[in-house]
């Protein structure tokens, strides 16, 4: 049987994790794999290049630092508790846009749940060609392919399904047991804010026919460990990160694992139980109800009091005249 290089590396990582309380000798490793100690040393170097931090001592061997594991497919996949979301991941050190890549994969037949993850996005994008700031090494950029068997007219509700999953995941990581607990809030339709600053964005793209969805790509960007200095000029006043708000460094691996799990849970709930449970959960994160908001649309600004969302997920806005406007797109500002 031909053993490929990746599987030996994966196996070494697995053994190092098991023995992380002490050193694992090079001799033991070379015996296990039937390889020379030089060959093992080469594999260790290649594992280090993957981002793992390994202490090496000529006398004692190798020891993996569990506190500083890299953000890799291998790490994400171990302990991932989902049935389909993220079971197949395409990971990039750098990419133009995870949404673009996921769409490309989807149009070539990628299955439901397929995900693209990147450490850095060169052209991270938001709504209508806007930029999503995507520095390396600190945040989550992932796009998930879904193929729901629903009519395209209902698909916009999926953006609120995603918002609930992201908000729930963020709430979990901000709740670290200390007294101060910042809370995530949704801004219609699906930005996630903490203390009125944007911490996560969701961009959903669909390819459909009149009566059939070919695929939906849900792109999620979360500012996890980004520091103030990393934002471009001025953006730090309107954007933030989980680390800035919660005060703690958060494992991106743990975050994305729970994100995928929550996404799968709410997606399944939506397909099975319809929009109402999603609407309820979404509303629990909506802190703008009763407040005066502005909605910026192409060439037009509307003002009124945010009432909530209707059974389709549209924003209801009570205008001065008393008329309730139903908003399907636009930027909502307080």
């Amino acid at each position: 049987m031909k053993v490929n290089k990746i599987s030996i590396e994966e196996e070494i990582i697995r053994l190092l994790k098991k023995e992380s309380h002490s050193f694992l000798s090079g001799q033991a490793l070379s015996k296990t794999f039937g390889l020379s100690r030089t060959a093992i040393w080469k594999y260790i170097n290649s594992i280090k290049e993957m981002g793992y931090s390994i202490a090496a001592s000529p006398a004692k061997g190798y020891r993996l630092n569990l506190q500083n594991l890299p953000f890799t497919v291998l790490e994400i996949s171990s302990n991932l508790k989902t049935a389909f979301i993220g079971k197949n991941i395409s990971f990039y050190k750098e990419i133009d846009s995870t949404n673009e890549a996921a769409r490309e994969f989807a149009s070539k037949g990628a299955a439901e749940g397929f995900a693209v993850v990147a450490d850095f996005q060169k052209k991270g994008k938001g709504r209508l060609g806007r930029r999503w700031e995507s520095p390396a090494g600190v945040n989550i950029y992932t796009s998930i392919v879904l193929r729901p068997n629903i009519m395209p007219v209902f698909a916009p509700q999926l953006t609120l399904v995603a918002a609930v999953a992201v908000a729930e995941t963020i709430a979990r990581f901000l709740n670290n047991g200390s007294g101060y607990k910042p809370e995530p809030a949704v801004k219609w339709p699906n930005d996630i804010l903490i203390n009125s600053k944007k911490v996560a964005g969701i961009l959903t793209e669909m390819n459909s026919e009149m009566d059939r969805i070919n695929f939906v790509v849900i792109g999620v960007g979360v500012n996890v460990n980004m520091t103030k200095e990393m934002f471009s000029e001025g953006l730090e006043f309107i954007a933030t990160s989980l680390k800035q708000e919660g005060g703690k460094e958060i494992s991106r691996t743990a975050f994305i694992q729970l994100l995928y799990l929550n996404m799968e849970k709410w997606y399944a709930q939506y397909l099975k139980g319809g929009f109402e449970p999603v609407r309820k959960a979404w509303t629990s994160f909506f802190h703008m109800a009763g407040k005066t908001v502005k909605v910026q649309q192409t060439g037009k600004i509307m003002q009124g009091i945010a009432v909530g969302i209707d059974n389709d997920g549209a924003l209801l806005l009570r205008e001065k005249s008393g008329n309730i406007a139903r908003i399907l797109s636009g930027d909502v500002e307080m």
Partner: protein, 151 residues
Amino acid sequence: MDFKEIEDIVKFIENTDIVEFELERPNGKVRIKRSIGRPDIVETRPVVVTPSFIAAPEQKAEEQKTEKAAEKLKQITSPMVGTFYRAPSPETQPFAEVGNTVKKGQIVCIIEAMKLMNEIESELDGKIVSILIENGQPVEYGEPLFVVEIA
């Protein structure tokens, strides 16, 4: 292009929400613009009217031909309620202009609802003869967005 053909086009447009329409043929060009109700022809040039002294059979062939002309016009409609965008961002060129040829599967516009961006593809090869909605305007389910003349 004769008056019968134009009449067919007008009849075709009558049952749609088309507000502006342009069709170019080797033998002439017609542009129709209307606000509401019946379309009025504001400009036609140069319309060649074929003399038709000859009797029935020939006439019938002519009718069939013009019916075919109307059959060649197909609409691209919206699969959902939302906002119509002609370009991926306000700074970029529209996906398609009147007169452009489009291939099946080519993106012609985006419909957005609740930050779900639906890239609408042409379902056929042809030429865009009319764009029916203005950028940034709301559209209904099934509302026609483009008229395409099949290649």
